[in-house]
Symmetry: C2
Subunit: 119 residues, 2 copies
């Protein structure tokens, strides 16, 4: 069946959450948002492209930082309202220079930092 | 630093997205939503508890199906606005009886089903 980005379910702002996972290690790297055009661009270019809610513009991941995400596999969930992009990540995914944005855990009621910024 | 569920950033509906990942295999199983009380209950009980937007009620994953998610690690991202829960998943995570909700890929412009319902 041919895929149409408009067949996905977007929220009232026209956005769908996209989880980026390292295709090799399985590590969950980040979550950001796409609109239908960002979905189309990601599939067309194989360069993961989000919609920046703060800047209200397309955000080709790594365009300025060099920390690009090359698309390895594009998946969506049973409700058509969440994306999972498997990626080949160059360098850190997080703007704090850590590999993953999910570097803080809650253990025994306390916050624990799991990883340091990359050198 | 002590953790307060209210220190997270919730959307205008008071919700935060929560990605559930299999703690052993690394497979991303599903994405659902929590409010501050669901976060507190998840941490207190070690049973992953979401907020059902359709039913407008707490949703202790597996309470009716038996497909429970036992919390292994609770993490949040650099913006405090997305959760990653590593879980021990009993049976399928998806209501379609598949292990993961992300069973559809888009490859060469076509939808491909990656896994069948569990027996």
């Amino acid at each position: 069946m041919g895929f149409d980005p408009n067949s996905l379910t977007y929220n009232e702002a026209g956005l769908i959450p996209a989880i980026a996972q390292d295709a090799e290690s399985g590590e969950v790297l980040m979550m950001a948002w796409m609109n239908a055009e960002a979905v189309a661009r990601t599939l067309d270019t194989q360069r993961v492209t989000y919609w920046s809610r703060s800047r209200q513009s397309f955000w080709i991941k790594g365009e300025s930082s060099g920390h690009v995400q090359e698309l390895v596999d594009f998946r969506f969930d049973c409700d058509n309202d969440c994306l999972l992009v498997l990626v080949s990540q160059t360098g850190p995914a997080c703007h704090t220079n850590r590999r993953s944005c999910f570097y803080t855990a809650v253990r025994d009621g306390k916050e624990v930092e799991l990883m340091a910024p990359m050198a």
